[in-house]
């Protein structure tokens, strides 16, 4: 097994990311986004592009920094720590992975920050790509795509959409799916904002006889599942890393509060009932971080065999983030329930992250399958 210790390069990247995000995108920035009804700050995204973050998974020949999935995880984790909102996972992780595996020449646009993407996969309340029923019917030389996609992250703001549609077979089958790379403003597309608790961009996308051609197909006709699965795994690993950052951020805020708040003439952090809960939470975060690092390492070394590592990371991160934010709000007491205080933002993002790209049960089932249950 590859060592899970952080390398010097990784520590430098983490320190740089932390320094930047603490300044440029503290939790206050998320509050401002929310109050101004915007999903993210385009200025922040431009700066991320300038630092090479948008090209983290893109080859140098396409203008990327080609730092790999573990590096993408470190960036996502630091974004989670300050709740920095951006289309990073949708665009720089998932779309970049799909486009790279399909050798698309749009990669350089992602690397330079010139285009953002959303992945339109889910159609119900739970993540289940094989259940895709949005259909792309062959009509002469073109396809006519119709149906509804739900819970499309960055779906309102994205410039382009990677759309998973059925070109053959029926819902439930992994074969017969195809990925289309289309402009988000193409005729027949309606994007309805579905404001979510985490104040980020989520949309319901209705497709009404949207016209696409063979040139819009990314990868191979009817074999889109292979392509999208790799992109989803990359996204799941990055999201797991983000959630681990969310857990770490909530934990840090909570432990600081325990050291400051006084009740009964004592610092509440001196109460053993709270100490043990905080120590348990720290332990869970430590254990989860190993699974996060491992997922990044496996994606970098054997991307085709990453399913177990990725699902393990997403499951652990989902559970740990949930624990961290629940404990965080409880240990803050009344102030933790107020909108004025930041801890609630962590709880909301943890809940959305728990559902996005497969919930605990989805990933637990994948772990069980990989482990021969």
């Amino acid at each position: 097994m590859t060592s899970l210790l952080e390398t010097e390069d990784e520590t430098m990247l983490r320190d740089a990311a932390r320094g930047f995000l603490t300044e440029a995108s503290p939790v206050r920035a998320l509050r401002e986004n929310r109050d101004q009804s915007r999903a993210y700050d385009p200025g922040l995204w431009r700066e991320m592009a300038q630092m090479g973050w948008t090209g983290v998974l893109i080859g140098e020949d396409q203008g990327g920094a080609d730092m790999g999935h573990r590096a993408a995880g470190i960036l996502a984790e630091e974004m989670g720590t300050t709740l920095a909102a951006s289309p990073f996972i949708s665009t720089a992780v998932m779309a970049a992975t799909a486009l790279r595996n399909a050798a698309s020449d749009r990669l350089s646009q992602i690397a330079e920050g010139g285009v953002t993407y959303a992945l339109a996969v889910d159609e119900g309340a739970k993540h289940n790509p094989a259940q895709t029923s949005v259909s792309a019917e062959k009509s002469g030389n073109a396809y006519l795509i119709s149906g509804v996609k739900t819970f499309v992250a960055d779906g309102r703001s994205a410039d382009r959409i990677l759309l998973l549609a059925r070109t053959a077979g029926s819902a439930g089958e992994t074969a017969g799916l195809t990925v289309f790379d289309i402009d988000a403003t193409r005729a027949g597309i309606t994007r309805d904002a579905k404001p979510t608790v985490d104040s980020r961009d989520h949309a319901r996308i209705t497709l009404d006889n949207v016209e696409a051609t063979g040139a819009d197909i990314l990868g191979t006709l009817d074999d889109g599942m292979t392509l999208i699965a790799r992109a989803l795994e990359a996204g799941q690993a990055a999201l797991a890393a983000e959630l681990s950052g969310v857990a770490g951020g909530a934990y840090a805020m909570t432990v600081n509060y325990l050291k400051e708040r006084k009740q009964f003439d004592r610092t509440i952090g001196s109460f053993q009932a709270l100490q043990h809960r905080a120590a348990h939470l720290w332990s869970e975060i430590e254990v989860t971080s190993s699974a996060i690092i491992n997922a990044g390492r496996v994606l970098d070394t054997s991307p085709k065999e990453a399913s177990l590592a990725v699902s393990l990371a997403k499951a652990r991160a989902t559970a740990t983030a949930k624990l961290a934010v629940s404990e965080g709000v409880q240990m803050h007491g009344g102030i933790g329930m107020t909108d004025e205080y930041d801890i609630g933002f962590y709880m909301k993002r943890a809940r959305v992250g728990a559902e996005w790209l497969g919930d605990y049960g989805y990933h637990a089932a994948r772990v069980a399958q990989a482990r021969g249950f």
């Binding site: 097994m1 590859t2 060592s3 899970l4 210790l5 432990v255 325990l258 050291k259 004592r266 610092t267 952090g269 001196s270 053993q272 709270l274 100490q275 043990h276 905080a278 120590a279 348990h280 720290w282 332990s283 430590e286 254990v287 989860t288 190993s290 699974a291 690092i293 491992n294 393990l312 499951a315 652990r316 637990a364 089932a365 772990v367 069980a368 482990r371 021969g372 249950f373």
Partner: protein
């Protein structure tokens, strides 16, 4: 991942050849079983010739204590060489030739706190399996509050007069010597008046009595000291006390960190590398169709895998020279809690067959009961959480 140097890969192939040539094939790929552990000591009788051959070959090369200096009976391996040795042992399925509390605990304590003369007298017989040590820490009134040691050692000029009782002394009835915490200053604050003493178990006034646990027979004993005379010196420069008199707590704390890593590590590989699902299915083909057991098994599998990775990460960190420090309390806490969950699940899966003392699943019931001690021995889970909150999280005392 760092590439292995030529020197390292040379050592790897050399050590693999040595293991292959010296570890009898009848021992390799043998299922790990408590009854197969070689403990050594004056009372030890080998049940198998191949174990004796393997131990003697290992002794000849210092490989019973790979990291210890050659002059004290070790092999003088570097950290990275030892890692390679362990990896090759695992790969070739060779069992550890000799295990003992001397190798695990007293040795590291002497190497850290002992004089050259103490090391020269006590370490080589440990590496040769000649002297078996036991550990005398806990007392009836000193459990989690270990520093509350009451066994007293009075200064009688040329010797110490020891009176008191130890409890949970594993294999005290088999051991030749004991390393014990004794109170040498009754007036000092409780952490300050303790010494780390080496006592011959054949001394007049030492008696032992085995303890029966809820799981049945156990290696644990009570050990009684009734006017035991312990010489102040076992020879020139060889005090019977390790480190300074009244500073035994420092030695004990150092050793407890070792012990915690060991106990925490017990949760790994217990199923012989098989997945929990395979293990459960071997109990009953349909058991994973039970939705509650299936859910618990998935959760446990996820947590166990992530914990195993964490053990590896911390081991790498320790081997890279950066300490693990108080975070070892987390390994002990998580590892033992996971192990208890695992056995609860196995018992649920085994159903009524699991509660039979001698049922179709062998020692499952006593093993399940025994796991309940995992989160008590070597510092309770609550003490581990105390250590984490005070030393890692730096939460205030009072």
């Amino acid at each position: 991942m760092v590439e292995e140097t030529t020197e390292q890969s040379g050592f790897r192939s050399e050590i693999a050849d040595w293991i292959t040539a010296n570890c009898p094939s009848s021992l390799r790929s043998e299922v790990m079983d408590e009854n197969l552990i070689v403990w050594g000591g004056k009372n030890w009788k080998f049940k198998r010739q191949d174990q004796k051959d393997w131990m003697e070959a290992a002794i000849a090369r210092g490989m019973t204590a790979p990291r210890w200096p050659v002059e004290y009976g070790g092999a003088g391996l570097s950290r990275s060489q030892e890692k390679i040795f362990r990896e090759e042992m695992a790969r070739l399925e060779a069992p550890t030739p000799l295990e003992s509390f001397g190798l695990w605990m007293l040795g590291p304590a002497l190497l850290e706190f002992g004089t050259h003369e103490q090391k020269s007298l006590f370490l080589p017989p440990i590496t040769r399996g000649e002297i078996r040590w036991c550990q005398g820490y806990s007392e009836p009134g000193a459990g989690s509050d270990l520093a509350n040691v009451q066994t007293k050692a009075e200064d009688m000029g040329d010797h110490w007069l020891v009176n008191g009782q130890k409890i949970w002394t594993s294999y005290a009835d088999q051991a030749d010597w004991i390393f014990a915490l004794v109170r040498t200053d009754r007036d000092a604050p409780k952490h300050k008046g303790i010494s780390f003493m080496l006592i011959d178990m054949r001394s007049a006034g030492v008696t032992t009595k085995p303890i029966r646990l809820i799981s049945g027979k156990s290696p644990f004993c009570e050990t009684f000291f009734d006017n035991v005379k312990v010489p102040k010196s076992y020879g020139e420069g060889i005090s019977s006390i390790v480190g300074e008199v009244n500073r035994g707590w420092d030695v004990a704390k150092h050793l407890l960190t070792h012990e915690r890593e060991m106990i925490g590590g017990g949760a790994r590989g217990l199923l012989g590398g098989r997945s929990l699902g395979d293990f459960l299915s071997s109990l009953d083909d349909n058991i994973l169709a039970d939705p509650v057991i299936r859910t618990q098994a998935m959760e446990l599998e996820i947590d166990s895998l992530a914990f195993a990775m964490t053990m590896e990460r911390y081991k790498d960190q320790a081997q890279s020279g950066r300490g693990v420090g108080n975070a070892s309390a987390m390994l002990k806490y998580c590892g033992t809690e996971i192990n208890k969950r695992r056995y609860e699940l196995l018992m649920s899966a085994a159903g009524s067959e699991g509660v039979e003392w001698d049922g179709p699943h062998g020692a499952l019931a006593p093993e399940w009961l025994r796991t309940k001690a995992n989160s008590i021995e070597g510092g309770t889970s609550e003490v581990m959480l105390d250590i984490i909150s005070k030393r890692v999280l730096e939460l205030p005392g009072k």
